[in-house]
């Protein structure tokens, strides 16, 4: 895949689409990042498009419920749980304003 394929890419992405996905993923992007990602995503998505050729495959995974007794056991203390929080107050995590 080369830059010259870009025009032909079946999944051309524009910076607005990148921005929409970034909103869904809660990641701010600069103008430059959105533009660079749009170009790279076109290449990558074009490559992913070959998955279209994959036949439907029956798969029966070995799945099983894993159960355990519902017993109280030690966990992190309140202090330990808060130890890595950028901000806490009176034993609580402090988050952004709810608006």
């Amino acid at each position: 895949m080369t830059a010259t394929d870009e025009g032909a890419a079946s999944d051309a992405v524009d910076p607005e689409e990148v921005r929409h996905v970034a909103d869904l993923a809660r990641v701010d992007l600069s103008e430059e990042e959105a533009a660079a990602f749009a170009e790279q995503f076109a290449d990558v998505l074009d490559y992913f498009a070959a998955l279209d050729e994959v036949p439907a495959v029956e798969d029966e995974p070995d799945l099983v419920n894993v159960m355990r007794a519902d017993e109280v056991r030690d966990g992190l203390s309140q202090e330990e749980a808060l130890a890595n929080a950028p901000e806490s107050e009176a034993g609580f995590f402090k988050g952004p304003t709810v608006s």
Binding site: A22, R26, V27, F41, V54, P96, T97
Partner: protein
């Protein structure tokens, strides 16, 4: 460090020059055990109580876990000494250790070149003599790739053999923690210590799993017994391949660099001289393995990394409402490759695209599994070059993500199929190490360890 280490390529100065460790801190095991006297470097996405664990990310620059990962508990219980936390591609996302927020690690064999990744610091620590052993994690090759590029041994265990409790998740349906050593026996001895069921990771339970039909190499264990409890991996490193059938998947040899293929074929010829038989096998599905792997890994990453919101840990997002604050924290805390994968994963799972990408990737994953099952009806283990290329120079491929992804062609099929594999040094080309990969049936660690140890001669 003993006095005679002064002249070794290791040494503290070397470790700093190569940027191997992100945190240099010693934790002594408090018990006598199979690893007494051995030093172990631990990848920085494996939780260590009281010792900073960054995942190579600015997001977790100051994060200090409140508990040990199960594998770390087991290391210390076995008498090992942890010597530090090693550099890695950010959250495991990369194959060169260049995406670390703390700068790249250099390859001890040739400091102009990458050590591979994402567990590049761990592999470099062992190759440079900074540690006897190391732990990495392998989501799509992140143990085997740096083992190959640094000229050491790395094992990717069967999914479910080793507990992931305390491993910071990137793509949990694919990843396993795996050991590095300078010999197959060393790496296998570390696997003996870390393997086994853990009630804190339900995927280590074995009661339901049935071994692959016709898989002669798989561990023969009674029902309800975890394979790790019925095996001695170090003892399997006996070099005996007499009568072993080695399958060579043509698709995974054809695409490799000629210099790599030459070394690989010489090593195969050696094994034949020692009584192994080689047969060609075909895995037609692997043409789609890299695509399927990246769709699945990115999709899982987009969900797993949603936890980094700057509230419970990580970088604070500052003013604004929840959404604005989260988005600001993630803009600042994540590097380019992490953003790329979170965004592409979000895209692949978003309305209108799920069936086109994620569902097709799951079909491809099932197809890859089936192809391996069929190959193991004909062969005890499969052999391929671990990496299709020699270790690249630093900075060569960072701007072209797709070219980096394609480097994983031989390693990702193994993760898609949940299988065990080992990478062992097979020789050199132009003074650079070439790794040989052996893949076994589910829970067939002993078979790949045995075959790998035969390459060491």
């Amino acid at each position: 460090m003993s006095a005679d280490d002064a002249d070794a390529p290791g040494g503290d100065a070397a470790a700093e020059d190569l940027n191997i460790f992100l945190t240099r801190e010693t934790v002594e095991g408090d018990a006598d055990g199979p690893l007494s006297g051995r030093t172990v470097a631990v990848k920085d996405n494996i939780s260590t109580e009281g010792v900073r664990t960054t995942c190579g990310s600015a997001m977790l620059e100051d994060y200090v876990p409140q508990y040990d990962a199960t594998v770390v508990e087991r290391l210390l219980d076995a008498g090992a000494t942890v010597v530090g936390k090693t550099n890695m591609d950010e959250f495991g996302m990369g194959g060169t250790t260049e995406t670390s927020a703390f700068g790249p690690t250099k390859n001890p064999v040739d400091p102009e070149r990458v050590p591979g990744g994402s567990s590049g610091g761990s592999a470099a620590a062992v190759a440079a003599g900074e540690a006897d052993l190391a732990l990495g994690s392998d989501t799509g090759g992140s143990v085997r790739n740096p083992a190959a590029f640094c000229g050491i041994v790395g094992i990717k265990p069967t999914y479910g053999l080793v507990s992931r409790y305390g491993l910071v998740a990137y793509a949990n349906s694919l990843e396993q923690i795996g050991p590095f050593g300078r010999t197959v026996e060393d790496a296998a001895a570390l696997l003996d210590v870390i393997a086994g069921p853990d009630e804190r990771d339900a995927t280590t339970r074995y009661d339901a799993a049935e071994s692959t039909p016709g898989a002669s190499g798989a561990a023969d264990v009674p029902d309800g017994v975890h394979p790790a409890d019925a095996t001695d991996y170090a003892a399997a490193a006996d070099g005996d391949v007499d009568g072993t059938t080695i399958g060579v998947p043509t698709e995974l040899v054809e695409g490799a660099d000629d210099r790599v293929v030459d070394v690989f074929e010489d090593a195969l010829a050696d094994l034949e001289a020692r009584g192994a038989e080689t047969v060609e096998v075909s895995l037609p599905s692997v043409e789609h393995a890299v695509q399927a792997y990246y769709v699945i890994a990115m999709s899982e990453a987009s969900s797993n990394l949603a936890r980094f919101d700057g509230v419970r840990y990580g970088i604070e997002g500052g003013d604004g409402n929840w959404n604005e604050s989260f988005a600001a924290a993630r803009e600042e805390g994540f590097g380019d490759e992490v953003k790329r994968r979170v965004l592409l994963g979000t895209y692949a799972l978003s309305a209108g695209y799920h069936d086109k990408y994620y569902k097709k990737a799951q079909d491809a994953r099932a197809w890859v599994k089936r192809d391996f099952d069929e190959a193991f009806a004909e062969a005890d283990v499969l052999a391929t070059p671990t990496m299709p290329v020699l270790p690249p120079k630093r900075g060569e491929s960072l701007d072209d993500p797709l070219s980096l992804y394609l480097m994983d062609a031989n390693t990702v099929p193994v993760n898609l199929a949940n299988l065990p594999a080992v990478s062992v040094p097979a020789g050199e080309a132009e003074g650079l190490p070439v790794g040989m990969q052996f893949v076994g049936p589910a829970f067939g660690e002993e078979a790949v360890i045995r075959a790998g140890s035969a390459v060491e001669g």
